[in-house]
């Protein structure tokens, strides 16, 4: 029974790791497997399937809303040259190579992850490093390891939202341990970037910058995430980090003149200043703060809520799931809605100020569609599969089977489970969807701290994303070295495994405290 329960996950892993299938194809195969096993071996009837899939839809709608709106805002800003304006400012801060790499491939790339994500950070920063004279493999590896800490609370906290949705635990409970582990990881990522740029010499040059900027980012992340602003956790932390970088870059050891010229504009197109380049994300931050802190605004936006009443279910084998209003979507106040407001307002302002070239609307729509459809397909099929496993008791069965590891070994391996999920599915969201309920059940059974284990799950998944074939392929395509994925993976493994071990140690120590 244990192996049968594990079969859908194993099949998804095998398809993605061995056959190199995308998540948008592996997910549906996993869904069929889970449905057949659920009905044939775990006693699921029609009612169990109906409720599990209805709940998966509500979960998926929330993530879709966020995903599509985040992609739209990113395209709106990028088409207007906003991202280029921010990049130019970053590069001009210092001409010192290690500091430049830290600002670009640790702080700025994390900002891009905080606001966009979905492979965009590597696609944006890798070409900039190539222009600065880096070889293709370091140009892929450096930004990849630089932004992994920002993935869970990045993309407007899509991954964290998935973790909350799947486990039905309050975000306020899950945010503190997750933010703490990821904050420490932020500092670790700084060291990994400095080492990748110039070995131990790079680390020696970068120590003050890493501790000051990393400390600022870790503190900002913790404060934002634990005060209900997890949606802008990574973006806000990276903005704070950029501010700290400006000051650190003026330290005598980093104060070197930079040589950088903006690319030319199209005829009739205006170039945004730094303020207008960052306007979309500043506006989003302001909207998130107002919607969270101003009661009248929050009440107004929270007027329309989608909160279906799920009936309780029971399988023929006696596995029960309680009913009730298990998930709700705040249609006008959800993070996805705030993103959409920011995207629309930014588009209108950019249009008025002449930042766009003709045909921009079609380009934005096409890019959002092209990026959004495959991602959405992977997410919805994985969510549907995971919900079948939860409602039929398969997840509970797997958790029971993992008890033989014992609590200490399980706690040490929890980040690796998250990483494995992300490596195979290519996303922190998908890893959380597939494994968070399993991790919660296993932690419950073994008497471990559930929020800590779930924090390890999502932090491990962030690292796994860096090693996923999907992300590496984005890098090799951007750097124009197709077929070199294995070489990139080998370098990445050396950099991220110490981070994974560090998370495991934090989980063990956290459990003792």
């Amino acid at each position: 029974m244990w192996l049968l329960a594990l079969a859908p996950v194993l099949i998804v892993l095998a398809l993605m790791l061995i056959v190199r299938t995308s998540s948008s194809r592996a997910g549906p195969v996993g869904w069929f497997t889970a449905a057949v096993i659920g009905v044939a071996a775990f006693g699921a009837d029609l009612d169990v399937l109906i409720v599990s899939q209805a709940r998966a839809l509500i979960l998926a709608l929330r993530v879709f809303f966020l995903l599509w709106a985040a992609l739209a805002l990113y395209r709106v800003v990028d088409e207007g040259g906003g991202l280029q304006a921010i990049c130019g400012w970053v590069v001009r801060l210092t001409g010192e190579p290690v500091m430049q790499a830290l600002i670009l491939a640790w702080v700025f790339v994390s900002f891009v992850q905080g606001t966009g994500g979905f492979g965009v950070p590597i696609a944006v920063v890798c070409p900039m490093l190539l222009n600065m004279g880096y070889d293709p493999i370091p140009a892929i590896v450096i930004p990849t390891i630089g932004h992994v800490w920002a993935i869970t609370f990045g993309s407007l906290a899509t991954s964290f939202t998935a973790l909350v949705s799947m486990t039905a635990l309050p975000a306020e409970t899950l945010a503190p341990p997750s933010a703490f582990i990821l904050g420490v990881m932020a500092v670790g990522c700084g060291f990994a970037v400095a080492h990748a740029v110039d070995g131990w010499r790079g680390i020696r040059r970068a120590v003050p910058a890493i501790f000051i900027v990393g400390g600022v980012m870790a503190t900002a992340l913790f404060l934002l995430a634990t005060n209900g602003l997890w949606a802008i956790g990574s973006a806000g932390a990276a903005i704070a980090g950029l501010g700290a970088s400006v000051l650190v870059a003026r330290m005598p050891r980093y104060s070197v003149e930079a040589d950088y010229e903006d690319p030319p504009c199209a005829p009739g197109q205006n170039r945004p200043t730094l303020f207008w380049g960052a306007f979309g994300y500043l506006l989003l931050t302001a909207l998130a703060l107002v919607a969270r802190l101003a009661d009248p605004v929050r009440d107004f936006l929270g007027g329309v809520v989608l909160a279906p009443d799920f009936p309780a279910t029971a399988t023929a084998l006696g596995h029960t799931v309680e009913g009730g209003q298990l998930q709700k979507i705040n249609l006008f106040g959800d993070t996805g809605a705030l993103l959409l407001y920011a995207a629309i307002i930014t588009y209108l302002i950019y249009k008025c100020r002449g930042y766009y070239t003709p045909g921009v609307e079609r380009r934005i729509a096409v890019q959002v569609f092209k990026k959004g459809i495959p991602s959405a397909l992977g997410i919805i099929s994985m969510m549907a599969m995971a919900n079948i496993m939860v409602y039929t008791g398969m997840m509970q069965q797997i958790a029971n089977g993992l008890r033989f590891l014992g609590p200490d070994l399980y706690a040490f391996g929890a980040p690796a489970i998250g990483a494995l999920g992300a490596i195979t599915t290519g996303s922190n969201v998908n890893s959380n969807v597939v494994f968070s309920e399993l991790q919660r059940s296993a932690a419950d059974l073994m008497g471990l701290l559930v929020p800590l284990i779930l924090a390890a799950q999502t932090a491990g998944a962030s690292i796994g994303v860096a090693l996923s074939p999907a992300r590496i392929t984005v890098g090799t395509t951007t750097a124009n070295i197709p077929g070199k994925e294995g070489d990139v993976l080998r370098v990445l493994v050396r950099s991220v495994v110490p981070l994974l071990i560090a998370i495991a140690v934090m989980v063990i120590v956290g459990g003792m405290i």
């Binding site: 948008s24 194809r25 997910g27 549906p28 195969v29 869904w31 069929f32 029609l46 399937l49 109906i50 409720v51 899939q53 209805a54 998966a56 839809l57 509500i58 998926a60 279906p308 009443d309 799920f310 009936p311 569609f369 092209k370 459809i373 495959p374 959405a376 397909l377 919805i380 099929s381 549907a384």
Partner: protein, 54 residues
């Protein structure tokens, strides 16, 4: 990614969401079993389309 593949994926996504929406609408209706079967079939069609999208 080719336009054909993207169109098939969009169709698959539409079928899956439509099937799930039918299930969400009938989950509290005891007489909605026939509609639920149609919903599950729509989902299965969408999943198959995604697998064979190429």
């Amino acid at each position: 990614m080719s336009d054909r593949k993207l169109r098939v994926q969009a169709l698959a996504l539409g079928l899956i969401v439509a099937g799930m929406a039918v299930l969400a609408l009938v989950m509290n209706a005891p007489e909605g079993q026939a509609a639920a079967v149609i919903g599950l079939l729509l989902m299965a069609g969408g999943m198959l389309s995604a697998i064979f999208a190429g």
